[in-house]
């Protein structure tokens, strides 16, 4: 009964919205989120079954061996099909919806309502899914890239005892991520928001017997709470202002209800952005993301690169109307974004752990996305989100393949070297040619080299920052010039640290040791095929949104790239009202960079500069004499500061964590144990004293009780009569 209800939207609710929006017929949108949930249920049950079996084996004095004489148990073979299978099915359903949406002119979001979730007083939240161009893009990324990462995981995690649990968490994560992007109201988005946070915590601490890894999970969870506080306050403010938290009425009313540049809308956007900064790892809340690399590498690819951490960008793009109404809020978003982009890039320069470099790179790229949505280029922000999902997922999965190979090689010689440390690698391209090739594609993409995906998306963001500052009535023109310069500088740093990563890992001489070198091997097909698909997407994915000016120039092959500004037009219905507000208040955007020169010129310059940086650093880094981690000396001078991540963790520890611990200790010893417990005990003693007096009336004989009862009746009667 419930299942049919779930799949069949309430007829009435659907009709009202369908009437407004041409003829878009949603194709079982509930199925998209239901399928991963089913996968979670199945894999979860398998995980429980495995846990029971392994506990029984331990009680019997042994240990559960996966590859015993009877072959691998079904708990470790079924998830290989169920986990990626449900994602593939969800992707297909999404594709059907996408194709249907392509065929119609959809100007209003389609809201499919299933049931009333909360109804108290005037507050009403429906369990409803919103289908529009923005959620469609996000659904495609989540299910599509998610599917590829699931397939990769089959190869990467196959021998882990927690295999079914891993897929259960991964499916659950996709479920919550889809709730986040498909929910039709802030509370529903918040459900997904918290749910992905939970799954992130579970997966970072997936190997929870390692103290450091479970601590990393806790850190992610706690830092995210700070952001959630901002999100919640923003929701309260929105509810007080609008009386509802559904997207459609809130965004419909806000141009009238909120004054442009007013204090209220600025407060709302800043609190929303605090939430986004927590989830998307921006200054000052980015510290959890590098530690989150403790999780399995495909998790880093899916959650901490491609999908979850981009939820903040999605949220800002979703709330584009609010942000467009607040120039101060938008400037803050862009400012924090550009600072994060530069700051994280500097840290990435000196990291030796391959995943740490990628983690800081992710923080940096997320900063770019926030620059995009902060300068009103919402489509550009989402565009970079999408291309980043492709190439960063590819980089993480590629690093996963490298770590996998390193781990196996070190395992053979029982070496305790760190398989993730790039100082221990070198020359791996001879053993892993496919991985090396696809990772080079991703590196060129992230470095912003034409014609890879990252070039188009990153360049558009940088250009939009300049154009926004050059608008007729730009709020803080000088500020945007600074943003533009910093963004360009960070792009050069990106090109350098990524090249450094590639050269240290795949080129130069081998540093694993000769015995280990013989055991290095290319990843199996189940791992490299997803890599190849992602490589193709990193190569061609940028062509769906080539700005007009670029498209007609040499960089667009004189109009040879077929799609034009497709994504921009596709998202137009979602961002239209934000753009109207922007146009009405800012006038026309600028056409030249702050120091002169047009869009095409600067695009040419930046790709040429990035290419130059890549070429030079291949030579420079190739010339370094890298010593393996065991014999390496700690860096000195400025490098030491970068190596220690600007000592931000230490700063937070001294300024926030230790005072909090001291205050907590005071609250525990003095306030709780002394005052509160004392009060509670005093109340207890008082109650016992009263009870002693009262117990004197207890004779135990029925007559006494009957007498007292009659007395009571007498009093009540007297009270009634007189």
């Amino acid at each position: 009964m419930h299942v049919t209800l779930w799949m069949m939207p309430l007829v009435g609710a659907q009709e009202t919205h369908a009437a407004e929006s041409a003829a878009f017929e949603p194709f079982f949108p509930g199925l998209v989120i239901l399928l991963p949930l089913i996968g979670f249920a199945i894999n979860g049950l398998l995980a429980l079954r495995h846990a029971t079996a392994s506990a029984a084996a331990v009680r019997a004095g042994g240990e559960l061996v996966l590859d015993g004489p009877t072959g691998r148990p079904p708990t470790h073979t079924l998830p290989s099909w169920v986990g990626p299978g449900v994602l593939l099915a969800a992707f297909v359903v999404t594709l059907v919806n996408f194709v249907r949406m392509l065929g119609v002119e959809l100007h209003e979001p389609v809201v499919v309502e299933y049931w009333t979730w909360m109804a108290t007083g005037t507050f009403h939240v429906a369990a409803a899914l919103q289908l529009d161009q923005l959620s469609m893009v996000m659904m495609l990324v989540v299910t599509g890239v998610g599917f590829l990462i699931h397939v990769f995981s089959v190869g990467y995690m196959r021998d882990d005892p927690g295999y079914p649990r891993y897929f259960a968490y991964l499916n659950l994560f996709v479920f919550f991520m889809l709730v986040l992007v498909m929910g039709s109201s802030y509370p529903l988005m918040f459900v997904g928001w918290e749910g992905v946070g939970l799954c992130s915590y579970l997966l970072i601490g997936f190997w929870f017997s390692d103290r450091e890894k479970s601590d990393a999970g806790k850190k992610a969870f706690i830092v995210n709470r700070i952001g959630d506080f901002g999100f919640l306050v923003a929701m309260f403010l929105l509810f007080v202002t609008f009386g509802t938290l559904d997207f459609v009425p809130v965004f419909g009313d806000s141009p009238q209800a909120l004054a442009y540049g007013g204090g209220l809308v600025t407060a709302i956007t800043l609190f929303l952005f605090l939430g986004a900064a927590g989830k998307s790892a921006q200054i000052p809340l980015y510290v959890w993301l590098p530690d989150a690399m403790a999780g399995p590498t495909p998790v880093s690819a899916l959650i901490h690169a491609a999908t979850m951490v981009t939820a903040g960008v999605y949220m800002v793009a979703r709330s584009s109307v609010l942000f467009a109404l607040s120039p101060a809020g938008s400037a803050t978003v862009a400012g924090i974004g550009v600072l994060t982009a530069l700051f994280a890039a500097t840290i990435a320069l000196k990291q030796n752990d391959i995943k740490k470099v990628l983690a800081y790179s992710t923080v940096s790229q997320l900063g770019y996305m926030f620059v995009g949505v902060g300068v009103g280029a919402y489509a550009a922000g989402i565009f970079h989100l999408m291309t980043h999902a492709f190439f960063k997922a590819l980089l993480f999965l590629g690093s996963g393949a490298v770590i996998h190979a390193m781990h196996h090689a070190l395992h053979h010689t029982h070496s305790h070297e760190d398989p993730q440390d790039m100082r221990n690698m070198g020359g791996l391209r001879r053993h892993m040619p496919i991985t090396a090739a696809v990772m080079w594609i991703a590196t060129l993409a992230i470095a912003g080299i034409w014609p890879f995906a990252g070039f188009f998306s990153k360049d558009e963001i940088i250009w939009q920052a300049a154009a926004f500052g050059g608008a007729e009535h730009a709020p803080y023109p000088g500020l945007y010039t600074a943003y533009w310069v910093i963004a360009l500088a960070a792009a050069m740093l990106t090109a350098f640290y990524m090249t450094r990563l590639m050269v240290m890992t795949f080129h130069g001489s081998n540093r694993t040791g000769s015995e280990e070198e013989r055991h290095l091997h290319e990843a199996p097909a189940v791992m490299w095929v997803p890599l190849a698909v992602l490589a193709a997407l990193s190569l061609f994915g940028g062509w769906i949104n080539v700005p007009e000016a670029i498209s007609s120039s040499i960089l667009g092959l004189g109009g040879g790239l077929p799609m034009g500004e497709w994504l921009h037009h596709w998202l137009e219905p979602v961002t239209a009202s934000a753009h109207q507000i922007q146009e009405a208040n800012l006038g026309e955007l600028g056409h030249t960079a702050p120091v002169g020169g047009g869009e095409v010129l600067w695009a040419l310059l930046s790709t040429a500069a990035a290419g130059l940086v890549v070429l030079v650093s291949v030579r420079v880094v190739g010339g370094w004499k890298v010593t393996p981690a065991a014999r390496d000396v700690a860096p000195t001078g400025f490098g030491k500061i970068l190596y220690n991540k600007w000592y931000v963790d230490e700063l937070y520890d001294a300024v926030i964590v230790r005072p909090v611990v001291r205050v907590s200790r005071f609250c525990w010893k003095v306030v709780d144990a002394g005052i509160i417990d004392g009060l509670v005990n005093a109340v207890g003693y008082l109650a016992r004293a009263f009870g002693f007096v009262g117990s004197l009336f207890q004779t135990g004989t029925v007559n006494t009780y009957a007498f007292i009862l009659s007395l009571g009746v007498l009093f009540i009667l007297g009270a009634v009569i007189f």
Binding site: N703, F707, S710, L711, V713, L714, L717, G718, I721
Partner: protein, 171 residues
């Protein structure tokens, strides 16, 4: 005539209940109780509640009182006279409480003019049409049919409970 009868019945009922409270022997108490119940049945007749009067005699004075009697016989309580009445302060206090209660109830019930509908006419008409049993059966099996059924369950539960409680535990 009816008034005289009422006062006779009332006097017997009060006398009987004084006997219930005051008799030393439980058997005497019980017999006084039967007298009280019977005279109350008479009052019921005077109040045109013929069916209830019959039930009062058959069920109360007949069945329930016999049940009490059996228990007294079973436990052989006839000779246990000691320390039955509570004397002294307890009884004085009880007397005061009960006296006040009586005063309150009587002044309230006797002293005020009771308003109300034409219940008497309705009942008399129903008795003329359907007979004494029909008059009470009509609401019992229509308006109050669910409570009536539940009463049946209650009796069943009481029977089971009485059996369980009174059964000798074989160990």
């Amino acid at each position: 005539m009816i008034d005289i009868l009422f006062y006779v019945f009332a006097a017997v009922a009060i006398g009987g209940s004084v006997g219930v409270v005051a008799s030393k022997s439980p058997v005497a108490s019980l017999l006084f109780m039967v007298v009280t119940l019977a005279s109350l049945a008479g009052v019921f007749v005077l109040l045109e509640a013929h069916f209830l009067a019959a039930v009062q005699v058959i069920v109360y004075a007949g069945a329930i009182m016999v049940l009490f009697l059996f228990v007294i016989m079973l436990l052989n309580l006839g000779h246990d006279y000691q320390k039955d009445l509570r004397w002294g302060l307890a009884s004085l206090l009880s007397f005061a409480v009960v006296g006040l209660l009586a005063g309150l109830l009587s002044t309230r019930l006797g002293g005020s003019a009771l308003g109300g509908g034409a219940g008497a006419e309705v009942i008399d008409a129903a008795i003329r049409e359907q007979g004494a049993v029909g008059a009470i059966a009509q609401p019992l099996f229509t308006t109050y049919v669910v409570p009536f059924e539940i009463t049946g369950i209650l009796l069943l539960v009481a029977i089971v409970g009485a059996l369980v409680l009174a059964k000798r535990h074989v160990e």
